[in-house]
């Protein structure tokens, strides 16, 4: 063991105290109560508060048993666990409003939750918080076939919505890997992307209107069925991706499009990552817009094959799954162009199919990638770095470097057509050294992504998991504006506080930066 490890370095603590002190002075000058961020979420969920919550929601919808607390102490994100003080299943907008008013009065935190598949800790409870679960709000309220819109409650499962509208020849394109489980509310709150982002965009491209309970308890309705609407600020773009920090969705109006007439799915494998990355870059620069370009590296291919047994190319360095869709001959034409480009880039085993069932098998396999990687090790920490598409080959290489330099296994896959990669560190969360290596690898990946003009998260959100990177990498004016918006909407900081960024520069963010 090296000597530095044994010694305690007090200089960090001293520096810490100094920074704290300086901030304190700075804040006092500007008349900000610096301690508010810490004080306000005090030990506030007392028995009395729980009684009041029971009165609002009914006892059957207010869970406080130890077992339930354990079962709502996580979402899909590794490493983050915190038991809440209560779990609520409100049934009406008024109940939600009452809960939030009580939270302001008694100063406790409220954490909205959909299906809990989030990958950035968005619905992981905070200390002394109550979780507000929306999964029972699962009605499709109206399918308007004349205007091509659908109005839903936020707890509707994305896949269920897709199946329902497809029966009427309509199409809701956003297709996160978790679509069988995740909710529309969670999708809007995370601005979820998915497999079809390249051609069809992400959740925000389909949000037309919403009803939301604001943190103060007010009920806000915004947007509507108008295809164009420029009256006032665009609140839709403000709330989409707000990660449950600006309000609780209670109704969501979504745009639909007609189902594509036909599609062709293409698979191919590569002997090296460079050829694979170049193929993607070449397809994009040839002005073809496939509905999907999904990338899987060798580790991912093998884990997915272990789960699905569908004959994926186990020896390939990487593979691509692509899809083109549309009308008539155009589809064949584009498919052929893509296959030409793949060939030029030394792709092997190029196959194409227009059989829906086969295509579905491939997509289902791809959707399982993240969880399938966990076959290798107990913990899979996945990231979401995204770069301009032309930089994809470079970024794929950087991920390899990160793994080699930090001596961790990283499985890499993602929505290659969007420049959105999901490098996944495979470790054991109980092994502290491994966790540290993984965090160092991600640090490297994020820095490289930002150097390439990219972002730390393309679709999973910031939540708790990427908060410190976000605060570090966001220019002060943008961060300050976001903080101002948050405190204007949620003056007492009761709704999912401390997610995305800390609202007041608390020690939390200092410690990590």
């Amino acid at each position: 063991m090296r000597l530095e490890r044994v010694q305690i370095n007090y200089s960090i603590y001293i520096a810490f105290i100094q920074v704290y002190f300086l901030l304190f002075i700075a804040c006092s000058f500007r008349g900000v109560d610096f301690t508010s961020g810490i004080k306000q979420i005090g030990l506030a969920v007392t028995e009395l508060v729980i009684d009041q919550l029971r009165r609002i929601c009914g006892s059957a919808s207010t869970l406080t048993s130890r077992e339930d607390k354990i079962c709502y102490s996580y979402d899909g994100t590794p490493l983050f666990y915190q038991e809440p003080e209560a779990i609520l299943f409100p049934e009406t907008v008024e109940q939600i409003s009452e809960i939030l008013k009580l939270a302001n009065q008694e100063k406790f935190a409220v954490v909205p939750r959909g299906a809990g598949t989030g990958l950035s800790g968005g619905s992981v409870p905070l200390k002394d918080s109550v979780v507000l679960v929306m999964t029972k709000w699962n009605k499709i309220i109206e399918l308007d076939e004349a205007n091509l819109t659908v109005t839903v409650e936020p707890g509707v499962v994305t896949g269920d919505l897709q199946k329902t509208v497809e029966k009427s020849g309509l199409f809701y394109p956003p297709d996160p890997g978790s679509s069988n489980v995740c909710t529309i509310g969670g999708n809007v709150a995370e601005n979820a992307g998915g497999l079809r982002g390249l051609k069809y965009g992400v959740t925000k491209n389909y949000l037309m209107g919403f009803e939301m309970v604001l943190p103060t308890g007010e009920i806000l309705v915004s947007g509507g069925k108008n295809y164009k609407d420029v009256a006032g600020y665009n609140l839709r773009d403000l709330v989409v991706g707000s990660e449950g920090t600006l309000g609780i969705f209670t109704k969501i109006l979504l745009k639909l499009i007609p189902v594509p007439q036909r599609s062709i799915t293409i698979t191919s494998s590569f002997g090296n990552l460079t050829d694979c990355g170049n193929s993607v870059a070449n397809i994009i620069s040839a002005h073809i817009v496939p509905s999907m370009i999904e990338f899987l590296d060798n580790t991912t291919i093998n884990c997915v094959e272990d789960f699905t047994h569908i004959g994926l190319p186990r020896n390939a360095a990487a593979m691509l799954i692509l899809e083109v869709d549309g009308r008539g001959d155009v589809v064949d034409y584009e498919a052929n162009m893509i296959m030409e480009i793949l060939k030029k880039n030394n792709a092997e085993g190029i196959r194409s199919t227009s059989d829906a069932e086969q295509a579905n098998t491939l997509k289902t396999a791809r959707r399982s990638a993240f969880s399938a990687l966990a076959r290798k090790r107990p913990t899979a920490i996945l990231e979401d770095a995204t770069v301009p598409r032309s930089e994809l080959p470079v970024m794929i290489e950087k991920v390899r470097t990160a793994a080699a330099q930090n001596n961790v296994v990283i499985g890499n896959f993602g929505h290659a057509g969007d420049g959105n990669l999901h490098p996944t560190c495979l470790i054991d969360e109980n092994d502290k050294a491994e966790v540290d290596s993984a965090l160092r690898a991600f640090d490297f990946i994020f820095n490289e992504a930002i150097k390439l003009g990219g972002t730390i998260t393309g679709e999973h959100g910031t939540g708790l998991a990427k908060k410190h990177f976000f605060e570090k990498s966001t220019p002060a004016p943008a961060l300050n504006l976001m903080r101002k918006i948050k405190s204007a909407v949620d003056p007492n900081n009761i709704l999912n506080p401390g997610k995305i960024f800390s609202n007041s520069p608390k020690c939390e963010s200092l410690k990590l930066s």
Partner: protein, 432 residues
Amino acid sequence: MKNPELGIIRAALPDDEILTKCIHCGMCLATCPTYDLTKLERSSPRGRIQLIKAVADGRLEITPTFIEEMSFCLDCQACETACPAGVKYGRMVESSRVLIEDTKENYAIPDIVKKIGLNYILTNNLALRTVAFLMLLIQRSGLQFLMMKSGFLKIFNKNFNEYLKLLPKMKFKTTRGLLKGVSLKPERSRYKAAFLSGCIMDVAFSDVNLDTIQFLLKNDCEVFIPEKQVCCGSLHAHNGEMKTAFALMKKNLDAFLAEDYDYLVSNSAGCGAFMKEYGHLLSDDPVYSIAAGKFSEKVKDFSEFVHLTDFQTKLRPPDETVTYHDACHLVHSQKVSQEPRQMLAKIPGIMMENLNESTWCCGSAGIYNVTRYEDSMHFLDKKMQNLKNTKADVVLTANPGCMLQIEYGIKKYGLKMRIEHPATFLNRLIKE
């Protein structure tokens, strides 16, 4: 140590390798019938795994809610099929049940009945036959009818009449009574198939057993039925009675090892699934480990076997439309779902209807429909709606539990439909 029972817990629960595999991604939630019903995380596979882990870590005692959730789970293993990470949920819930049994201090009357049934009746051929005979007497003499009509059974439990309807109708003949410890040889023989008559199958589904054997013989397979065989032990293992299960497993290994054979053909998905596990369960046994491994490798479900070896007889086209319900123990435990469909598709002129959500549990789940009658009816309800929509004449399924439950459902919902085992269906189509 927060939990004084941690020693027992550690011994009963699977090792860390299995316990820490779940990454709580939630991908299994969509397939879990109990989560579908309650929308509560604690009745989801992900939630239950967290509870089991909490007990294993000593963060949670074995509380009534814990016990309730472990018993509410159907052990249908749909979550295992759905889990990309390969979490062995079945092993976790089953060992939690062992743990619950091991740490129980008092037994309620239903527990005692269950224990007697599992440990003394199913394990003993004579006792099983005696009980079957008594049941036959009650069922066929009109006594059951009187008991149900008089309503006096409701003193014990308001659902008692329903339990009686769910019980299998006893048959006058049983397989091993009929074909005692024999090898049956057809004229030409392609394969030698060993056959497990089973416990419930033997006394209550002897007709299915006979159909299976006849079909195998007609397909040029020699059939070997060891005399000393016993119940496979699956019901015991699923209900936390591991000691008895191990004793039964070893008896069966001795019985089947008496002769060499190509495959062991099972016509009960539950038994097949469990016999495929012998190898794993006995992998540490100094005496039986190798034999158990070999034994398990040879186990094949009836449909798997027939699909593999193909029909040798001419079949006439069926005049009824058919649909297929996946028994959990076949599709989820054994991962056999294509073979039965491919086998049926080979029947000339067959009319198959697709059953929506065919892989969802019907609520039979071993003895779940008796131990948790009301919950079980929710799951049956979903299944019957889907079956009704197929408008099929016959529903085929390869597990005795599912057959009883769906038969009960057909009567309850007044459907014009018949439940049948694939072996019976095939056997009826043989052209003489």
